[in-house]
Structure formats: structure tokens, C-alpha cells
């Protein structure tokens, strides 16, 4: 056994995690990219993407999970999601008003359609996924300073 398999849960959990976590991540990306033609969208897909990283952290411990997605990278993606959503909304002013759908709509029920809505879905997925991962990290790992009573 290598050194990174010392911490975390048992071998059974680690093996199942190694087999399934890529599928969970791919399913989240599928939900995000098909958010404008089928149920789902940015929020649900972002939650599934964050759950794949939380799955790694639960099975392997925090070092392996932080090697995949560290705290500063998660914070960076969260900020990028918010800024991307705002920029897409503000770019509508080039045509007239806020949230103007300035890209061509395309043919309905296709993957590349809907104008700015897939970009907004991707921005929401980045924000929600990184945000949920950060909430999990903050609730589970961060320790408060011990404080005197009174």
C-alpha cells in the first residue's frame, strides 16, 4: 500500500470511490451542459460536481482532496462564477438592455442553442460547486480558536 492510502476509510470504500467518482463528475457536467434543454441546470449540476469532490474527501482524507481542488482554487472558481454571470448580464448593454440575449438563439432542442443561457448555467455551476465545497470544508475542517469563558 502506498503512503496516501494510510488515512481515510477502508479499502472497500476507497475502491468504490475510485471507480465511481469520475462518473459522478461527468454526470454533473452533463447536467450543466444540458441545462437549457432538459431538467437540471446550473444549480443541480454544480451540487453534483461539488459532491464528487466531497466524496473524495470523505473516502481519502483531506490531503488527497486538496491536491485535486485546493481551498484557494475553490475560492478562485467561486469568484470567477459570480464575475462571469455579471459580465454576461452586462454585455447585454451592447445591444440595448440588461440580460439581453445577444448571441444567436440557434435551433431549439439542440445542444448549442439558447444564446447566453448555457454560459449562465456554467457560471452558476462554478459558483455553486465551489461554494458548496467551501461550505463543507469550513464546517468540517476549520478549527476555531479556543476562547476563554466569561
Amino acid at each position: 500500500m502506498s503512503k496516501e492510502h494510510d488515512k481515510g476509510m477502508s479499502v472497500i470504500v476507497k475502491t468504490i470511490t475510485r471507480l465511481t467518482v469520475g462518473l459522478i463528475l461527468l454526470y454533473g457536467i452533463y447536467i450543466v451542459l444540458h441545462g437549457h434543454v432538459s431538467p437540471g441546470g446550473g444549480f443541480a449540476g454544480g451540487i453534483i460536481i461539488a459532491l464528487s469532490f466531497i466524496h473524495i474527501m470523505l473516502a481519502y482524507g483531506k490531503e488527497v482532496a486538496f491536491k485535486k481542488l485546493s481551498k484557494s482554487v475553490a475560492s478562485f472558481f467561486e469568484s470567477i462564477g459570480a464575475i462571469l454571470f455579471l459580465v454576461v448580464a452586462l454585455l447585454g448593454f451592447t445591444g440595448g438592455y440588461f440580460f439581453l440575449n445577444f448571441i444567436s438563439k440557434g435551433e431549439p432542442f439542440r445542444l448549442f442553442s439558447g444564446g447566453i443561457i448555457p454560459i449562465c448555467n456554467i457560471a452558476i455551476a462554478l459558483k455553486v460547486g465551489a461554494g458548496l465545497f467551501a461550505i463543507f470544508v469550513a464546517l468540517v475542517l476549520l478549527k476555531f480558536e479556543p476562547e476563554k469563558k466569561g
Binding site: 432538459s38 431538467p39 444549480f43 431549439p108 432542442f109 455553486v128 458548496l132 461550505i135 469550513a138 464546517l139 476555531f144 479556543p146 476562547e147 469563558k149 466569561g150
Partner: protein, 112 residues
């Protein structure tokens, strides 16, 4: 009509849990239960008899569909509920760090 009353009963279960229990974790669970009762009530208001889900698809003509507006409202409410629940859990962890208990009757320093 009876199904709305059952919704109210679920909401009152959550309110009872908030008012009666002394453990902070149980109070948070009561808040979540009453929140979900409100979500269920809004979803039930959106239902129409024999309606299908409001999803456009190229192969079927939509004749009778349920109201999609409360669904979007409830989706937003779920997001807000997630954030506020995370805040509540953070405050509960902070209280446990400071006082060493989850029992609200033993947090004496708050009364001064």
C-alpha cells in the same frame, strides 16, 4: 383540501420541534422541516388535474401542463434554505466551541 391541511400539520410539526426541543441540532431540524412544508405547499398549489411537467420536447404537443412559476420560486427557496442552514450549523458549532453543550438551558452566559 385535505392535502393542504396535511401540509399545515407538517409545518406545525416543525414549529413544535422549534418551540419544544432543547437541543440546538433538533431546533435546526425543526426549522428545516417547516421550510420543506412550505416548499411542499407551493408545489401542491402549482398542480393541475392531469397536467404534465412543463418541459418542452420536440416529439410531444403540450396541451395541459402544471404551473412552472412556483417551481422556479421553490428552486430559489431551496438555495436560500441551503445557505441559511449552513449559517445555522456554523452558529451551532460556534456555540458548542464556546459553551461545550448543545442544550440551550445550560447556556448561562447568554442571560447576563
Amino acid at each position: 383540501m385535505i392535502i393542504y391541511l396535511l401540509c399545515l400539520v407538517l409545518f406545525l410539526c416543525g414549529v413544535y420541534c422549534v418551540l419544544r426541543k432543547r437541543n440546538i441540532i433538533k431546533i435546526i431540524i425543526g426549522i428545516i422541516i417547516s421550510e420543506y412544508a412550505v416548499h411542499l405547499f407551493l408545489i401542491l398549489l402549482a398542480y393541475r388535474l392531469g397536467g404534465r411537467s412543463p418541459i418542452f420536447s420536440p416529439d410531444r404537443e403540450i396541451t395541459n401542463m402544471v404551473d412552472p412559476l412556483p417551481h422556479a420560486l421553490v428552486l430559489t427557496a431551496i438555495v436560500i434554505g441551503l445557505a441559511s442552514t449552513a449559517l445555522l450549523v456554523g452558529i451551532a458549532m460556534r456555540i458548542y466551541e464556546k459553551y461545550g453543550t448543545f442544550d440551550i438551558t445550560r447556556i448561562r452566559e447568554l442571560k447576563r
